[in-house]
Subunit: 180 residues, 2 copies
DNA sequence: GTCGATTATGTCAGAGTTGACATAGATGGC
DNA sequence: GCCATCTATGTCAACTCTGACATAATCGAC
Protein backbone atom coordinates (compact mmCIF):
# COMPACT_ATOMS: atom_id res chain seq x y z
CA UNK A 1 0.00 0.00 0.00
CA UNK A 2 2.41 2.62 -1.25
CA UNK A 3 2.37 5.21 -3.98
CA UNK A 4 3.41 4.18 -7.49
CA UNK A 5 6.75 5.84 -6.80
CA UNK A 6 7.23 3.40 -3.92
CA UNK A 7 6.66 0.45 -6.24
CA UNK A 8 9.01 1.95 -8.82
CA UNK A 9 11.70 2.07 -6.13
CA UNK A 10 10.94 -1.48 -5.01
CA UNK A 11 11.15 -2.63 -8.64
CA UNK A 12 14.71 -1.28 -8.88
CA UNK A 13 15.77 -2.57 -5.45
CA UNK A 14 14.36 -6.02 -6.30
CA UNK A 15 16.99 -6.29 -9.03
CA UNK A 16 19.87 -5.28 -6.78
CA UNK A 17 20.11 -3.47 -3.43
CA UNK A 18 21.57 0.00 -3.71
CA UNK A 19 21.82 3.47 -2.21
CA UNK A 20 19.37 6.32 -2.76
CA UNK A 21 22.00 7.95 -4.93
CA UNK A 22 22.32 4.90 -7.19
CA UNK A 23 18.55 4.64 -7.26
CA UNK A 24 18.31 8.20 -8.54
CA UNK A 25 20.92 7.41 -11.20
CA UNK A 26 18.98 4.30 -12.31
CA UNK A 27 15.78 6.33 -12.51
CA UNK A 28 17.53 8.79 -14.77
CA UNK A 29 18.78 6.24 -17.28
CA UNK A 30 17.70 3.72 -18.47
CA UNK A 31 14.55 3.53 -16.32
CA UNK A 32 13.92 7.26 -16.78
CA UNK A 33 12.49 6.52 -20.19
CA UNK A 34 9.28 5.31 -18.52
CA UNK A 35 9.57 6.44 -14.89
CA UNK A 36 11.55 9.29 -13.40
CA UNK A 37 12.16 10.60 -9.92
CA UNK A 38 14.71 13.00 -8.54
CA UNK A 39 16.66 12.30 -5.38
CA UNK A 40 14.51 14.84 -3.54
CA UNK A 41 11.58 12.50 -4.14
CA UNK A 42 13.50 9.29 -3.57
CA UNK A 43 14.98 9.96 -0.13
CA UNK A 44 11.68 10.77 1.61
CA UNK A 45 9.99 7.84 -0.14
CA UNK A 46 12.73 5.46 1.04
CA UNK A 47 12.08 6.65 4.61
CA UNK A 48 8.38 5.92 4.13
CA UNK A 49 9.12 2.46 2.69
CA UNK A 50 11.30 1.65 5.71
CA UNK A 51 8.61 2.96 8.09
CA UNK A 52 6.04 0.76 6.32
CA UNK A 53 8.32 -2.29 6.63
CA UNK A 54 8.66 -2.71 2.85
CA UNK A 55 12.36 -1.87 2.71
CA UNK A 56 15.33 -1.93 5.05
CA UNK A 57 18.80 -0.43 4.89
CA UNK A 58 22.30 -1.21 6.01
CA UNK A 59 24.39 1.75 7.11
CA UNK A 60 27.87 1.66 5.61
CA UNK A 61 30.71 4.20 5.81
CA UNK A 62 30.83 6.48 2.81
CA UNK A 63 30.94 10.09 1.67
CA UNK A 64 28.46 12.69 2.75
CA UNK A 65 27.31 14.01 6.11
CA UNK A 66 25.17 10.94 6.82
CA UNK A 67 27.37 8.21 5.36
CA UNK A 68 25.82 5.75 2.91
CA UNK A 69 22.75 3.53 3.20
CA UNK A 70 22.24 0.42 1.12
CA UNK A 71 18.53 -0.28 0.75
CA UNK A 72 16.91 -3.67 0.06
CA UNK A 73 13.28 -4.71 -0.22
CA UNK A 74 12.05 -6.78 2.73
CA UNK A 75 10.18 -10.05 2.14
CA UNK A 76 7.01 -8.07 2.72
CA UNK A 77 8.14 -5.45 0.20
CA UNK A 78 8.81 -8.10 -2.44
CA UNK A 79 5.40 -9.65 -1.84
CA UNK A 80 3.74 -6.23 -2.17
CA UNK A 81 5.59 -5.64 -5.45
CA UNK A 82 4.53 -9.05 -6.77
CA UNK A 83 0.90 -8.22 -5.98
CA UNK A 84 1.07 -4.70 -7.42
CA UNK A 85 2.57 -5.80 -10.74
CA UNK A 86 -0.52 -7.77 -11.75
CA UNK A 87 -3.05 -5.22 -10.48
CA UNK A 88 -4.75 -3.15 -13.20
CA UNK A 89 -2.99 0.20 -13.55
CA UNK A 90 -4.75 3.19 -12.06
CA UNK A 91 -5.64 5.22 -15.11
CA UNK A 92 -3.50 8.33 -14.94
CA UNK A 93 -4.70 11.16 -17.11
CA UNK A 94 -2.68 11.39 -20.30
CA UNK A 95 -1.18 14.74 -21.12
CA UNK A 96 0.67 14.90 -24.40
CA UNK A 97 1.88 18.37 -25.24
CA UNK A 98 2.76 17.53 -28.86
CA UNK A 99 -0.75 16.23 -29.54
CA UNK A 100 -2.20 19.32 -27.88
CA UNK A 101 -0.09 21.50 -30.16
CA UNK A 102 -1.28 19.39 -33.09
CA UNK A 103 -4.89 19.87 -32.05
CA UNK A 104 -4.30 23.63 -32.20
CA UNK A 105 -2.01 23.47 -35.24
CA UNK A 106 -4.63 24.91 -37.58
CA UNK A 107 -3.94 28.40 -36.16
CA UNK A 108 -0.16 28.21 -36.76
CA UNK A 109 2.25 28.83 -39.61
CA UNK A 110 2.81 25.60 -41.64
CA UNK A 111 6.51 26.27 -42.25
CA UNK A 112 7.13 26.70 -38.52
CA UNK A 113 5.13 23.55 -37.85
CA UNK A 114 7.30 21.60 -40.27
CA UNK A 115 10.38 22.81 -38.38
CA UNK A 116 8.81 21.74 -35.06
CA UNK A 117 7.99 18.27 -36.35
CA UNK A 118 11.40 17.83 -37.94
CA UNK A 119 12.99 18.51 -34.54
CA UNK A 120 10.57 16.10 -32.90
CA UNK A 121 11.31 13.47 -35.56
CA UNK A 122 15.06 13.79 -34.99
CA UNK A 123 14.61 13.43 -31.22
CA UNK A 124 12.58 10.24 -31.64
CA UNK A 125 15.10 8.82 -34.11
CA UNK A 126 17.88 9.42 -31.58
CA UNK A 127 15.90 7.71 -28.88
CA UNK A 128 15.07 4.76 -31.12
CA UNK A 129 18.78 4.25 -31.79
CA UNK A 130 19.51 4.33 -28.06
CA UNK A 131 16.80 1.73 -27.39
CA UNK A 132 17.98 -0.56 -30.17
CA UNK A 133 21.54 -0.37 -28.89
CA UNK A 134 20.38 -1.35 -25.41
CA UNK A 135 18.24 -4.18 -26.75
CA UNK A 136 21.14 -5.58 -28.76
CA UNK A 137 23.13 -5.83 -25.52
CA UNK A 138 20.51 -8.21 -24.09
CA UNK A 139 20.06 -11.91 -24.93
CA UNK A 140 17.51 -12.52 -27.71
CA UNK A 141 14.09 -12.80 -26.08
CA UNK A 142 15.13 -13.75 -22.52
CA UNK A 143 12.94 -16.22 -20.62
CA UNK A 144 10.36 -14.55 -18.42
CA UNK A 145 11.24 -14.99 -14.78
CA UNK A 146 14.63 -13.44 -15.55
CA UNK A 147 15.37 -9.77 -14.94
CA UNK A 148 16.48 -9.47 -18.54
CA UNK A 149 12.93 -10.30 -19.65
CA UNK A 150 11.59 -7.23 -17.82
CA UNK A 151 14.19 -5.04 -19.49
CA UNK A 152 13.62 -6.62 -22.90
CA UNK A 153 9.84 -6.25 -22.76
CA UNK A 154 10.08 -2.60 -21.65
CA UNK A 155 12.52 -1.94 -24.50
CA UNK A 156 10.24 -3.71 -27.01
CA UNK A 157 7.50 -1.27 -26.00
CA UNK A 158 9.84 1.71 -26.22
CA UNK A 159 11.07 0.72 -29.68
CA UNK A 160 7.53 0.19 -30.94
CA UNK A 161 6.47 3.54 -29.45
CA UNK A 162 9.31 5.45 -31.11
CA UNK A 163 8.49 3.87 -34.47
CA UNK A 164 4.86 4.93 -34.10
CA UNK A 165 5.91 8.44 -33.18
CA UNK A 166 8.39 8.65 -36.07
CA UNK A 167 5.70 7.54 -38.53
CA UNK A 168 3.36 10.21 -37.16
CA UNK A 169 5.98 12.98 -37.46
CA UNK A 170 6.72 11.94 -41.05
CA UNK A 171 3.02 11.93 -41.92
CA UNK A 172 2.58 15.40 -40.40
CA UNK A 173 5.57 16.80 -42.29
CA UNK A 174 4.17 15.32 -45.50
CA UNK A 175 0.73 16.79 -44.88
CA UNK A 176 2.08 20.25 -44.12
CA UNK A 177 4.30 20.28 -47.18
CA UNK A 178 1.96 18.93 -49.85
CA UNK A 179 -0.56 21.73 -50.29
CA UNK A 180 0.65 25.15 -49.37
CA UNK B 1 3.22 33.37 -20.93
CA UNK B 2 0.81 30.96 -19.30
CA UNK B 3 0.96 27.41 -18.12
CA UNK B 4 0.32 24.61 -20.61
CA UNK B 5 -3.16 24.33 -19.12
CA UNK B 6 -3.77 27.94 -20.17
CA UNK B 7 -2.81 27.12 -23.75
CA UNK B 8 -4.99 24.01 -23.69
CA UNK B 9 -7.92 26.22 -22.71
CA UNK B 10 -7.07 28.79 -25.39
CA UNK B 11 -6.88 25.98 -27.95
CA UNK B 12 -10.45 24.97 -27.16
CA UNK B 13 -11.77 28.54 -27.00
CA UNK B 14 -10.10 29.33 -30.34
CA UNK B 15 -12.43 26.82 -31.97
CA UNK B 16 -15.56 28.23 -30.40
CA UNK B 17 -16.22 30.50 -27.38
CA UNK B 18 -17.88 28.67 -24.49
CA UNK B 19 -18.46 28.55 -20.75
CA UNK B 20 -16.13 27.00 -18.19
CA UNK B 21 -18.63 24.17 -17.85
CA UNK B 22 -18.56 23.41 -21.59
CA UNK B 23 -14.77 23.68 -21.50
CA UNK B 24 -14.63 21.03 -18.79
CA UNK B 25 -16.93 18.81 -20.86
CA UNK B 26 -14.71 19.24 -23.95
CA UNK B 27 -11.62 18.39 -21.90
CA UNK B 28 -13.30 15.21 -20.78
CA UNK B 29 -14.14 13.95 -24.26
CA UNK B 30 -12.81 14.03 -26.93
CA UNK B 31 -9.87 16.23 -25.89
CA UNK B 32 -9.42 14.26 -22.68
CA UNK B 33 -7.63 11.58 -24.66
CA UNK B 34 -4.53 13.79 -24.74
CA UNK B 35 -5.21 16.57 -22.23
CA UNK B 36 -7.49 16.61 -19.21
CA UNK B 37 -8.50 19.16 -16.63
CA UNK B 38 -11.31 19.23 -14.11
CA UNK B 39 -13.52 22.24 -13.59
CA UNK B 40 -11.69 23.00 -10.35
CA UNK B 41 -8.59 23.63 -12.43
CA UNK B 42 -10.37 25.37 -15.29
CA UNK B 43 -12.21 28.09 -13.39
CA UNK B 44 -9.14 29.53 -11.62
CA UNK B 45 -7.12 29.29 -14.85
CA UNK B 46 -9.82 31.20 -16.75
CA UNK B 47 -9.59 33.95 -14.13
CA UNK B 48 -5.82 34.07 -14.65
CA UNK B 49 -6.22 34.19 -18.45
CA UNK B 50 -8.63 37.12 -18.12
CA UNK B 51 -6.26 38.89 -15.70
CA UNK B 52 -3.41 38.36 -18.19
CA UNK B 53 -5.52 39.79 -21.03
CA UNK B 54 -5.48 36.53 -23.01
CA UNK B 55 -9.21 35.82 -22.64
CA UNK B 56 -12.38 37.79 -22.00
CA UNK B 57 -15.89 36.80 -21.03
CA UNK B 58 -19.43 37.90 -21.60
CA UNK B 59 -21.77 37.53 -18.66
CA UNK B 60 -25.11 36.00 -19.66
CA UNK B 61 -28.05 34.92 -17.51
CA UNK B 62 -28.01 31.25 -16.69
CA UNK B 63 -28.23 28.69 -13.91
CA UNK B 64 -26.03 28.75 -10.86
CA UNK B 65 -25.26 31.35 -8.22
CA UNK B 66 -22.99 33.36 -10.54
CA UNK B 67 -24.91 33.05 -13.80
CA UNK B 68 -23.02 31.97 -16.91
CA UNK B 69 -19.87 33.35 -18.52
CA UNK B 70 -19.00 32.82 -22.17
CA UNK B 71 -15.23 33.01 -22.60
CA UNK B 72 -13.37 33.92 -25.80
CA UNK B 73 -9.66 34.33 -26.52
CA UNK B 74 -8.60 37.95 -27.04
CA UNK B 75 -6.50 38.90 -30.08
CA UNK B 76 -3.50 38.79 -27.75
CA UNK B 77 -4.55 35.33 -26.55
CA UNK B 78 -4.81 34.03 -30.10
CA UNK B 79 -1.39 35.46 -30.93
CA UNK B 80 0.09 33.80 -27.82
CA UNK B 81 -1.48 30.48 -28.84
CA UNK B 82 -0.10 30.79 -32.36
CA UNK B 83 3.39 31.37 -30.93
CA UNK B 84 3.16 28.57 -28.38
CA UNK B 85 2.05 25.95 -30.91
CA UNK B 86 5.34 26.06 -32.82
CA UNK B 87 7.59 26.28 -29.74
CA UNK B 88 9.40 23.06 -28.85
CA UNK B 89 7.48 21.18 -26.14
CA UNK B 90 8.94 21.34 -22.66
CA UNK B 91 9.98 17.77 -22.06
CA UNK B 92 7.68 16.44 -19.39
CA UNK B 93 8.90 13.33 -17.67
CA UNK B 94 7.20 10.24 -18.98
CA UNK B 95 5.57 7.99 -16.43
CA UNK B 96 4.01 4.87 -17.86
CA UNK B 97 2.68 2.55 -15.19
CA UNK B 98 2.18 -0.41 -17.55
CA UNK B 99 5.80 -0.26 -18.68
CA UNK B 100 6.91 0.00 -15.06
CA UNK B 101 4.89 -3.11 -14.25
CA UNK B 102 6.47 -4.78 -17.27
CA UNK B 103 9.95 -3.86 -16.07
CA UNK B 104 9.14 -5.62 -12.77
CA UNK B 105 7.15 -8.42 -14.43
CA UNK B 106 9.89 -11.00 -13.86
CA UNK B 107 8.85 -11.24 -10.18
CA UNK B 108 5.16 -11.92 -10.96
CA UNK B 109 3.00 -14.90 -11.84
CA UNK B 110 2.84 -15.38 -15.65
CA UNK B 111 -0.82 -16.45 -15.66
CA UNK B 112 -1.81 -13.30 -13.76
CA UNK B 113 0.30 -11.23 -16.14
CA UNK B 114 -1.51 -12.70 -19.11
CA UNK B 115 -4.82 -11.69 -17.51
CA UNK B 116 -3.51 -8.15 -16.94
CA UNK B 117 -2.36 -7.78 -20.53
CA UNK B 118 -5.58 -9.23 -21.91
CA UNK B 119 -7.51 -6.55 -20.02
CA UNK B 120 -5.11 -3.90 -21.28
CA UNK B 121 -5.45 -5.22 -24.83
CA UNK B 122 -9.25 -5.04 -24.66
CA UNK B 123 -9.14 -1.47 -23.34
CA UNK B 124 -6.89 -0.37 -26.22
CA UNK B 125 -9.09 -2.13 -28.77
CA UNK B 126 -12.12 -0.27 -27.41
CA UNK B 127 -10.29 3.03 -27.62
CA UNK B 128 -9.08 2.31 -31.15
CA UNK B 129 -12.68 1.71 -32.24
CA UNK B 130 -13.76 5.00 -30.66
CA UNK B 131 -10.97 6.88 -32.45
CA UNK B 132 -11.75 5.29 -35.82
CA UNK B 133 -15.42 6.16 -35.43
CA UNK B 134 -14.52 9.79 -34.72
CA UNK B 135 -12.13 9.90 -37.65
CA UNK B 136 -14.74 8.53 -40.03
CA UNK B 137 -17.01 11.44 -39.07
CA UNK B 138 -14.37 13.89 -40.37
CA UNK B 139 -13.62 14.74 -44.00
CA UNK B 140 -10.81 12.65 -45.50
CA UNK B 141 -7.54 14.46 -44.73
CA UNK B 142 -8.86 17.99 -44.20
CA UNK B 143 -6.72 20.89 -45.41
CA UNK B 144 -4.46 22.32 -42.74
CA UNK B 145 -5.66 25.73 -41.69
CA UNK B 146 -9.04 24.15 -40.93
CA UNK B 147 -10.04 23.11 -37.43
CA UNK B 148 -10.82 19.65 -38.78
CA UNK B 149 -7.14 19.22 -39.66
CA UNK B 150 -6.16 19.63 -36.02
CA UNK B 151 -8.72 17.04 -34.98
CA UNK B 152 -7.74 14.67 -37.79
CA UNK B 153 -4.02 14.87 -37.04
CA UNK B 154 -4.57 14.30 -33.30
CA UNK B 155 -6.76 11.30 -34.14
CA UNK B 156 -4.16 9.94 -36.56
CA UNK B 157 -1.67 9.96 -33.70
CA UNK B 158 -4.16 8.34 -31.34
CA UNK B 159 -5.00 5.57 -33.80
CA UNK B 160 -1.33 4.88 -34.49
CA UNK B 161 -0.62 4.84 -30.74
CA UNK B 162 -3.40 2.36 -29.98
CA UNK B 163 -2.19 0.06 -32.75
CA UNK B 164 1.33 0.15 -31.30
CA UNK B 165 -0.02 -0.60 -27.86
CA UNK B 166 -2.23 -3.44 -29.12
CA UNK B 167 0.75 -5.01 -30.91
CA UNK B 168 2.79 -4.78 -27.71
CA UNK B 169 0.05 -6.39 -25.59
CA UNK B 170 -0.27 -9.23 -28.09
CA UNK B 171 3.48 -9.78 -28.13
CA UNK B 172 3.55 -9.86 -24.31
CA UNK B 173 0.69 -12.37 -24.14
CA UNK B 174 2.47 -14.54 -26.70
CA UNK B 175 5.74 -14.41 -24.78
CA UNK B 176 4.12 -15.28 -21.48
CA UNK B 177 2.22 -18.21 -22.96
CA UNK B 178 4.86 -19.89 -25.10
CA UNK B 179 7.24 -21.35 -22.54
CA UNK B 180 5.76 -22.03 -19.16
C1' DG C 1 48.80 18.92 -0.11
C1' DT C 2 45.27 21.20 -2.67
C1' DC C 3 41.48 21.49 -5.75
C1' DG C 4 37.63 20.03 -8.34
C1' DA C 5 34.54 16.35 -9.52
C1' DT C 6 31.93 12.77 -7.79
C1' DT C 7 29.42 10.46 -4.26
C1' DA C 8 26.02 10.91 -0.82
C1' DT C 9 21.88 12.40 2.06
C1' DG C 10 18.70 15.57 3.24
C1' DT C 11 15.06 19.85 3.48
C1' DC C 12 11.93 23.19 1.61
C1' DA C 13 9.14 26.47 -1.17
C1' DG C 14 6.27 26.61 -5.00
C1' DA C 15 3.69 24.80 -8.80
C1' DG C 16 0.41 21.54 -10.63
C1' DT C 17 -3.30 18.29 -9.82
C1' DT C 18 -7.19 15.79 -7.60
C1' DG C 19 -11.36 15.07 -5.18
C1' DA C 20 -14.48 16.81 -1.95
C1' DC C 21 -17.38 20.42 -0.57
C1' DA C 22 -20.51 24.37 -1.44
C1' DT C 23 -24.14 26.87 -3.79
C1' DA C 24 -28.11 27.46 -6.71
C1' DG C 25 -30.95 28.26 -10.99
C1' DA C 26 -33.06 25.69 -15.09
C1' DT C 27 -35.44 21.78 -17.03
C1' DG C 28 -38.43 18.01 -17.50
C1' DG C 29 -41.10 14.04 -15.81
C1' DC C 30 -44.66 12.48 -12.82
C1' DG D 1 -46.32 21.20 -7.16
C1' DC D 2 -42.41 18.28 -6.30
C1' DC D 3 -38.23 16.05 -7.15
C1' DA D 4 -34.27 14.56 -9.62
C1' DT D 5 -31.00 15.75 -12.97
C1' DC D 6 -28.42 18.87 -15.45
C1' DT D 7 -26.20 23.27 -15.88
C1' DA D 8 -23.07 26.40 -13.79
C1' DT D 9 -19.35 28.63 -10.92
C1' DG D 10 -16.51 28.58 -7.27
C1' DT D 11 -13.18 27.28 -2.95
C1' DC D 12 -10.14 24.34 -0.32
C1' DA D 13 -7.21 20.67 1.71
C1' DA D 14 -4.20 17.14 0.45
C1' DC D 15 -0.93 15.12 -2.44
C1' DT D 16 2.74 14.88 -6.06
C1' DC D 17 6.50 16.70 -8.30
C1' DT D 18 10.29 20.02 -9.45
C1' DG D 19 14.22 22.81 -8.68
C1' DA D 20 16.90 25.17 -5.47
C1' DC D 21 19.41 25.10 -1.36
C1' DA D 22 22.38 22.83 2.16
C1' DT D 23 26.08 19.88 3.83
C1' DA D 24 30.15 17.09 3.66
C1' DA D 25 33.22 13.02 2.81
C1' DT D 26 35.95 10.60 -0.87
C1' DC D 27 38.87 10.17 -4.89
C1' DG D 28 42.00 11.24 -8.48
C1' DA D 29 44.85 14.59 -10.86
C1' DC D 30 48.41 17.80 -10.56
Amino acid sequence: MTSTLGYAILAVLARRPRSGYDLAAAMNRPMGYFWTAGHSQIHPELQRLVAAGLASFEQVPGPGPQGKKIYSPTAEGLAALRRWVVEPPQSRPERDEMVLKTYASWVADPAELVRLFREELAAHERRLSAYEKERDALPEVPAHGSQAFGSYAALWCGISYERHRIAWCRWMIGQLGVDR
